[in-house]
């Protein structure tokens, strides 16, 4: 039986009268690249933030690596790497200093830390720019450094929240290749993106959220079956997504239903 890395049971988040996440049940197995899809305001980021302990659930339970999150929070967090949607790097620190700082927060030190800094920078193709300041980097380089900062402590679960926003196709392709490589090395990945082709290209299973609920979950083939009687139909993920969530615009403001 596959080991369950992330298990959400009846996870709910309520802001006053608004329900951002409504009784979500999900399981992410070891070795998966799990894609979380949904229109703006569907509850993807809130769900991810609850897994990352950045937002406190109103009710429900999160189990990470088989343990209840509340009980083993620190231990669980040390096994997770987080790549937030907005850049999380100090502009005033050099590339290697950024990786060093964030890796050191996980207890890595000394020679091991130096090695991990170089390995992480090399992995994202920034070793030769290790002494550069992020303020002088291109958008793609910053995104890669953002990822490198989450790798120094060898996470078993990597959570990536739209890591390819605003970068050129070459950088995007490079990042996707690296995510696939990490997954081959045994890292479980939870991935969100608005780019359907990215999800389609790398994710083994996909959950589609709308209005705070998971409305569909499975492999691409399983999702096709939900919208078409013929599984052999060549339906893109975008078509599935629009069929399930509708074509209505989702202009959304915080705190407004």
């Amino acid at each position: 039986m596959d080991e369950i890395i992330v298990k959400l049971e009846g996870l709910t988040k309520r802001y006053d009268s608004k329900i951002a996440v409504d009784f979500v049940n999900l399981e992410i197995k070891k070795g998966e690249i799990f894609g979380l899809l949904g229109p703006n305001g569907a509850g993807k980021s809130t769900t991810m933030n609850m897994i990352c302990t950045l937002v406190k659930p109103t009710s429900g339970q999160i189990k990470l690596f088989g343990s209840e999150m509340k009980k083993e929070e620190r231990k669980s967090l040390s096994r997770i790497g987080y790549v937030p949607q907005d850049l999380a790097i100090h502009e005033g620190l050099r590339a290697w200093e950024n990786v060093e700082l964030f890796a050191s927060l996980y207890g890595i030190k000394g020679e091991e830390l130096k090695k991990e800094v170089d390995n992480s920078l090399e992995f994202v193709g920034l070793l030769e720019h290790r002494k550069g300041f992020p303020k002088n980097f291109s958008g793609g380089m910053k995104r890669r450094l953002n990822i490198a900062c989450a790798l120094g402590h060898h996470p078993e679960l990597l959570i990536l929240d739209e890591p390819t926003v605003g970068i050129d196709p070459q950088s995007r392709n490079f990042i996707l290749e690296k995510i696939k490589y990490l997954n081959e090395m045994g890292v479980t990945v939870l991935y969100t993106s608005h780019y359907m082709e990215e999800i389609e290209a790398i994710c083994t299973r996909i959950a589609i959220m709308d209005n705070g609920k998971v409305i569909a979950c499975g492999t691409k083939e399983e999702l096709i079956q939900l919208v078409s009687d013929n599984p052999s139909n060549d339906i893109s993920l975008e078509q599935i997504f629009l069929t399930l969530t509708g074509k209505k615009l989702r202009d959304y403001a915080e705190g407004v239903m």
Binding site: C52, L77, E91, F102, L105, Y106, K109
Partner: protein, 352 residues
């Protein structure tokens, strides 16, 4: 892991060169400006002027037996007596080359003074009254008592110390480079995602802030000592011990304010308002500068104890304000640290 947090936070502070040097140069500028601007104001009530007094005595005057005694007592009180005829004496008084003229008659005396020399009249009358008790007074049969009083600091030394104390309370500037950098993007989310405790994150800001403040104020003290000749007295180890404790209190206080407001601009405004109030009520060493300030309000200000302790260490090497000063600074360190850690722990999603 704390070592790397401290090291990188210090790098962020050092790389913000403008704020770093501003914290060194502003006190130097303020000290040189204030010490020269308020030099006369600081000393006006305390320096006793030398007065020259002319006199004449009739041959049968009651004063003759004790005239020598009056002359000696006068000189001890900065009054020098010169014999002049009344005509010349009054002329000199008019020209302001004499401060007073006194005409001793048979059983009475008349003092001639001007508007500017009333203080000399008061002193002279005090001397006369002391000397004439138990008439006739002989030699040392009278007593002019000299009271011990606190030595008054020179303006440059006073402001040299007070402005260092005041500027150090603005230590929020020193740590603002770290706070501003952490606010950008989702750095705080990433930090919170790590297994590092709130206490370590607190120390990661507290220790660099203390170290940077010590470096900045240390440099300001060295510069003002060499350029303006500020004298911190002989008990340097005690003075610097108090300043180190203040650096810790300032760091804890600044971080606590930031944890409360979660906005660097609001924190700076609040910090300046509080420190200005402390300085206004309790900062002035001499209450004549703020005659209406209540003593109770002054004693609520940590600056009241800090200024007095450090200035008295400079002038007389000891201070009865030292103990309350240490207690108050320790209380600020403990309270500030606890509030900061509790706020960051219980509001984890928002604060680091």
């Amino acid at each position: 892991m704390l070592r790397y947090l401290i090291k990188n936070n210090m790098k962020l502070i050092f790389r913000g060169k403008l704020i770093f040097f501003m914290m060194i140069l502003i006190p130097v500028f303020l000290i040189s400006m204030l010490s020269s601007a308020f030099d006369s104001m600081l000393n006006v009530n305390y320096s006793l002027q030398e007065y020259e007094v002319g006199y004449s005595v009739t041959e049968d005057s009651y004063i003759l037996p004790i005239l020598e005694t009056v002359t000696i007592a006068g000189s001890k009180n900065h009054i020098t007596l010169y014999p002049y005829s009344k005509e010349i004496g009054l002329e000199k008084l008019n020209d302001q080359t004499l401060d007073l003229y006194i005409e001793f008659g048979t059983k009475e005396y008349v003092i001639y003074q001007t508007e500017d020399t009333k203080a000399a009249t008061m002193i002279l009358k005090g001397v006369m009254s002391s000397c004439m008790q138990g008439e006739p007074l002989q030699g040392d049969s009278y007593l002019v008592e000299t009271l011990d009083s606190n030595p008054i600091p020179e303006a440059k030394n006073y402001y040299g110390i007070a402005e260092i104390v005041y500027m150090m309370w603005c230590g929020i500037f020193s740590i603002s480079a770290v706070i501003n950098s952490e606010k950008k993007g989702q750095i705080r989310s990433r930090m919170k995602m790590s297994p590092t405790s709130s206490f370590r994150f607190y120390l990661g800001k507290f220790i660099p802030c203390v170290m940077i403040l010590c470096i900045q104020m240390g440099l300001a003290i060295i510069i003002t000592s060499f350029t303006l000749g500020i004298d911190w007295g002989d008990k340097l180890h005690l003075s610097f011990g108090i300043l180190f404790l203040q650096a810790m209190a300032v760091s804890a206080f600044s971080i606590m304010l930031y944890q409360i407001f979660q906005n660097i601009a609001a924190t700076i405004v609040a910090c300046f308002f509080i420190v200005f109030s402390w300085g206004f009520f309790g900062g002035a060493f001499q209450t004549y500068m703020f005659a209406t300030t209540s003593e109770t309000m002054a004693k609520l200000s940590p600056i009241y104890y800090l200024n007095r302790t450090l200035v008295e260490y400079s002038t007389k090497g000891s201070s009865e304000y030292a103990l309350p000063c240490v207690v108050i600074l320790s209380a600020i360190i403990i309270t500030g640290s606890m509030v900061s850690i509790l706020l960051s722990r219980f509001c984890k999603g928002e604060r680091i």
